[in-house]
Symmetry: C2
Subunit: 553 residues, 2 copies
C-alpha cells in the first residue's frame, strides 16, 4: 500500500562520514560552473532527486500554492519508513534544505517561523525569570576548552577549528563554540567580585557548531541555533533551584506551546553533560517511539568556576568559587514537533506555534461566482487577522481547491476555512480540522458574523491544541512498559517501546544495557510511580527510584 | 581641565596587528590557571586597568547602583580624547567588554538591549516590506568565495578559515561567513525555476566574521552581529527599486529611532561593495566629525547570478539570470548612537531605543521619611510601567542620590524622576532631562496624578527625541563645507570637516584625494543642493552632482 516516492534524501544527509563536502555539493558546483550545458554526471542521481524536491521559497512564510512546483509529490507514509517520511515532510513543507557543507542545514522561512515562535515564548519567560540577553564571541581559544577535564573529553572530538585568520596561520587555534561555558567563565571571572554581583543570570541566542558524523535535519546538524543560559550563584542551593526552575520553564513550554508531553527528570551520571554535576532533561517520545532529548538544564556545581577561578567575596569577606548553571534548547525542538504530531498527510502543527493557524480556500466554478467568493474570503481574512489569528488566504487560480486542501494539510495548518458560492449566500463558511481527517473534522454552516466566527475559530484552535497534547500523551503512555527484570526491559525495547523500572545499578550495568539493547537511560523522572518495585530490576538491590530506558535520537 | 583617568583601553583593543591573541588574554589566562597567588605579571598593567574598569553585570539590563563597583571612575572628557572617551563610556556604561580573542567583543546586557531595540524595529519593517526571515549556514566552501571575481578580491584578506573538523584535516577549507551572497546564491539556484518563484525576498539575523586588523568595539570587530537581506528579482528595475526601498527603510530608522541625521546616497565606483553593481549608503557624522557608514544596500545586478548560474524561465519561456540585492546593518549602529549623542557625562540615548527611558531616584534623609518616599516611588513606577514606559527604580540605600544622578546620566537614561519627602507631601515629583544639564533641564512640581504624569513624561520623551535629532542635524550641517576647488577640500578636511562639491573626476583622482587628505568619497547624496557648481572642482569638467568627502571610521 506504500505510495510511490522518489529516492530518499536520507542517504545524502546522513551517509557520508567523511569530513569533506559530500560529492553532491561539489558535483552540483562543477556542473554549474564548468559544464552548464552537459547532462548531469551519473553520480548526481541522488542530488537531482533532492534538487527537484526543492520548491521555490517565497516571500510568505507559508508559500502559496501558485508558486509551488512538484505539487503532486507524494510523501512516504509514516508507517512505512519514518525517516524517509520525516525528510519528505521537511522538503515538501519547505522547512529546511541541505547546506553545501555536509551536515549543515538551511532553515527556510516556514521552518524558521516555527523557531521564531519558540524564541518569542521563551525569550519572555527568560526575562520574567530574571535573565538578560547578551552575546559572547563564538571563537574560543583552544586552551580554554582544555581547562575543564570532562568538558574537553566530551567536546574535543566534535570541534571545528579555525587555524587561519587574515591569511595567516594562527599561533593559538580557535574553536568555533560548541557551547560557551568556558568563555562565559573567562568573562564571569572578570565581572564577579563580591556576593553583591550575584546572582549573575544571562542568556544568549546563538549558533553553535559540533562536528557530528551522523546528522539529521533539525535533530542533529553540524551547525544549529539555540539559546544558552548561564548563571552564577553564591550558594549550591541557589544554583540547584535555578537549574530546576529552567527545566520547569522548558517543561511548561513543551506541554503548553508545542503539545509535546515531555517527561522531565534527572540524567544518570553516565548521561550527564560534560562538565556538569547534575543534568536535568526533558525527554519526548517521537512518533516512531524513539526518545528525543528536547532540552537540558545543568547544575554545573563549581566545576567551571574552579577551572577558571571564578571567585567572589562572600558576606564574611572570604573568597569562594561561584556555583553555576547552564541550560539550552535548540532548533532540534522543531524536529521534535514534526516527529510528535505529523501523520501520513504531512506536518501537523500545534496552533500556538503554527506560523499559519488558519488557511482560507475560496471555491468557485464559474467566473461570475469568483468575485463574490473572493470578496467574502477577504472579509473573513480581515476579521480573523484583526482578532490576532495568523491567517493566510490562498486565492491563487492556478490550483484546484482539492490540490490546495492537500497542500495546506501537508504544511500542517491547524484549521481550513472553505468558502464557496452557497456559503456566500448563506453568510456562512465550512471549517475543517487538520487533526481530524475527512468529514468527521468538517463542520458546515459556521456563521460569518465576526464575533461568532472569531469565537468559533479561537475555540477550535484551543481544542486542537488540547487534542494534540492528549493524543501524544495517550500514545506516550501506551508505549511505556513497566519492567521488573532485565528480560522484560529487553522485550520492551525490542518492541520499540520505552522501559520503566526501578534502578540502582552501576554505570557499567547502564553501559551494558546500551550495548546489548541499544537503549540508554533517558532519565530518572521527577514524577515517580507510587506503586513501584523497591528493588533494582537489574541487580535486586534496594532502589530509590525508577529510570526510563529507550532508544533515542 | 582634563579629568584624571586610568590607562586607556584603546591600546589593548586596537594596537595588536598580530593574528594571535593579545598577550593580555594569555597572561590573564596564565595568571588564573598557574599563578593564582602571585601578583600580576608586569605586562598586564594595561589589562589590570581593563579588568578593574569592568563592573559587575547584573540581571537587570540597566544594572543597579548598588551593584556597581568603581563608581567614581571618571570618563575622559570627549573634547580631550574622543577615542578614549568612547572606550570609557563603553566600559563604564557596561555596553561591551573585550573577548579573549584579539578584536572580539562581548556585548553586555545594556549594550545588547540597544541592539534588541534595533532588531525589534527593523524586523517589523522587513516583514512589512515582504521579507521572510530564514537561516543560512555560516560555513562556506572556500571555492564559493572565489567564484565572483571582485568579491574574492574584497574579502579574501579578511577570512577566518576552518581547516580542522572532528579532529581531521578538511579536504576543502571552510570560510566562516564574512557575508552570505555566495551561499545564498548557491541555494537560490536550487529554489528558483520560473518567474513565478520571483521575487524571492529573505533576511537573516546572524553573526559574521571579518579578520580586521584595526578593531574598535561596535564599530569594527572581528565578529559582529547584523542582519543581511537577500533578494532576487526578474528585472533590473525591480532590483533597483528594492535596493532603494531598503536604504530608505534604514534612513527612516536612523532619523526616527536613533535620532541620527544620516545622509543617504550612492557610493562611488571605488567604494562600491565587492560584487555589487551599485551600493547605496547612509553616512552619519559622529561627534568627532568623522563619518560612519551606518548601513548599506547593494544592487548586485547579475554579478552573483552569473557566477552561480542562478537562472529563471521568464514568461516567454527563456532562461535569464536573476537580478539581485543585498543590504545590511550591524551592531556598528550601536557605536554610531554612542558617538552621535554622547557627551562628557557619558552616554545619551534617544528615548525610542533606550533600554531604560526613565529612572526614579528616591531621596530621603531620615529613616522615617524612607517609607513614604519609597511608597510614592513604587507607585510612580507602576503608573509609568503600565503606560508602556521602560522604567527603573534605583532604590538602593548604598549610594547617595547625587551618586545615582551621575551614574544614570552616564548610562544615558533620557529622563530622571526625583522624589523626596516634600514631593510626597505635595503629591508631585521633580523631572530632569538628560539632554539639558543642570537646573535648566529640571522641572519641579509635576503632579503624580497618573494621567497627567504619563502625558507629561511621554511628551518629554518625544521632546528629547526631537531635540537630539535637531542638535545632531545642526552639528552635521555646520560641519559640512561647500568646496569649489581641491584646495578648499583640503582646508575643510584639515579642519576635520566634511567637504561637499561637484565631482565627475576619475577613480584615480578619487584615490589621490584619499592618499593626500585621508578623506574618502562617502557618497553622492540623493538630496542634491540646487545651487551647486556645474563643473567638477577637481578637473573643471562638467559634473552632474555633488559628492561628500570625509575622513571615516
Amino acid at each position: 500500500m506504500g505510495a510511490l516516492r522518489l529516492p530518499s534524501l536520507s542517504t545524502i544527509f546522513t551517509s557520508s562520514s567523511s569530513t569533506r563536502f559530500s560529492s553532491r555539493s561539489s558535483s552540483v558546483f562543477r556542473r554549474s560552473s564548468r559544464l552548464p550545458h552537459l547532462i548531469r554526471p551519473l553520480n548526481s542521481a541522488n542530488f537531482s532527486a533532492q534538487s527537484t524536491v526543492q520548491k521555490a521559497a517565497t516571500n510568505e512564510v507559508g508559500s502559496s500554492g501558485q508558486k509551488s512546483k512538484n505539487q503532486d509529490r507524494v510523501i512516504t507514509p509514516r508507517s512505512q519508513d519514518f525517516n524517509a517520511w520525516y525528510l519528505d515532510v521537511i522538503a515538501n513543507a519547505e522547512l529546511a534544505d541541505y547546506g553545501p557543507v555536509r551536515g549543515t542545514m538551511v532553515i527556510r522561512p516556514y521552518g524558521y517561523a516555527i523557531w521564531e515562535a519558540i524564541q518569542d515564548y521563551l525569550n519572555v519567560k527568560f526575562k520574567e525569570t530574571g535573565h538578560s540577553n547578551m552575546y559572547f564571541p563564538q571563537f574560543i581559544p583552544y586552551s580554554f576548552i582544555e581547562k575543564e577535564a570532562s568538558h574537553v573529553e566530551g567536546f574535543s572530538p566534535e570541534l571545528a577549528v579555525v587555524t587561519i585568520g587574515g591569511g595567516k596561520e594562527l599561533e593559538e587555534k580557535l574553536v568555533v563554540r560548541p557551547t560557551s561555558e568556558t568563555i562565559v567563565n573567562h568573562m564571569f571571572t572578570q565581572w564577579i567580585h563580591s556576593y553583591r554581583d550575584l546572582p549573575l543570570m544571562v542568556n544568549q541566542w546563538a549558533n553553535v557548531t559540533r562536528w557530528e558524523m551522523r546528522t539529521k535535519p533539525f535533530v542533529r546538524t553540524l551547525e544549529f541555533l539555540w539559546q544558552e543560559g548561564h548563571t552564577a550563584h553564591a550558594t549550591p542551593e541557589e544554583a540547584e533551584k535555578e537549574a530546576l526552575q529552567m527545566i520547569d520553564v522548558y517543561t511548561k513550554f513543551a506541554y503548553e506551546q508545542t503539545a509535546i508531553p515531555v517527561i522531565a527528570g534527572r540524567k544518570s551520571k553516565v548521561e550527564t553533560f560534560a562538565g556538569a554535576s547534575r543534568t536535568y532533561t526533558i525527554e519526548a517520545m517521537m512518533g516512531d517511539k524513539k526518545a528525543l532529548q528536547a532540552g537540558t538544564s545543568h547544575n554545573l556545581g563549581q566545576n567551571f568556576s574552579r577551572a577558571f577561578d571564578t571567585q567572589f567575596m562572600d558576606e564574611n569577606g572570604e573568597r569562594q568559587h561561584v556555583w553555576q548553571t547552564s541550560w539550552a534548547v535548540s532548533t532540534r525542538f522543531v524536529g521534535g514537533i514534526i516527529m510528535t504530531h505529523g501523520d501520513d498527510a504531512g506536518l501537523m502543527l500545534p496552533p500556538k506555534i503554527a506560523p499559519i493557524q488558519v488557511v482560507i480556500v475560496p471555491i468557485w466554478k464559474k467566473d461570475d461566482e469568483k468575485t463574490g467568493v473572493l470578496e467574502a474570503a477577504f472579509t473573513v481574512k480581515d476579521i480573523l487577522k484583526s482578532a490576532g489569528i495568523r491567517i493566510n488566504l490562498d486565492d491563487s487560480d492556478q490550483r484546484t481547491p482539492g490540490w490546495k486542501f492537500n497542500f495546506w494539510e501537508m504544511k500542517g495548518v491547524p484549521l481550513r476555512i472553505e468558502i464557496g458560492p452557497r456559503d456566500v449566500s448563506n453568510g456562512s463558511v465550512v471549517i475543517s480540522r487538520r487533526d481530524i481527517p475527512g468529514k468527521q473534522g468538517k463542520v458546515f454552516g459556521i456563521s460569518m458574523e465576526p464575533s461568532s466566527l472569531v469565537a468559533y475559530v479561537k475555540d477550535k484552535l484551543d481544542e486542537i491544541q488540547s487534542s494534540l497534547l492528549n493524543r501524544a500523551s495517550t500514545f506516550r503512555d501506551s508505549n511505556i512498559v513497566d519492567v521488573g527484570s532485565y528480560e522484560e526491559l529487553k522485550d520492551a525495547i525490542n518492541q520499540g517501546k520505552w522501559a520503566r523500572g526501578s534502578w540502582s545499578a552501576s554505570d557499567k550495568d547502564e553501559l551494558k544495557v546500551k550495548e546489548e539493547t541499544g537503549a540508554t537511560l533517558r532519565c530518572f523522572p521527577f514524577e515517580q510511580p507510587k506503586d513501584r518495585q523497591k528493588t533494582c530490576f537489574m541487580t535486586g538491590n534496594p532502589a530509590e527510584e525508577v529510570a526510563l530506558f529507550a532508544k533515542s535520537y
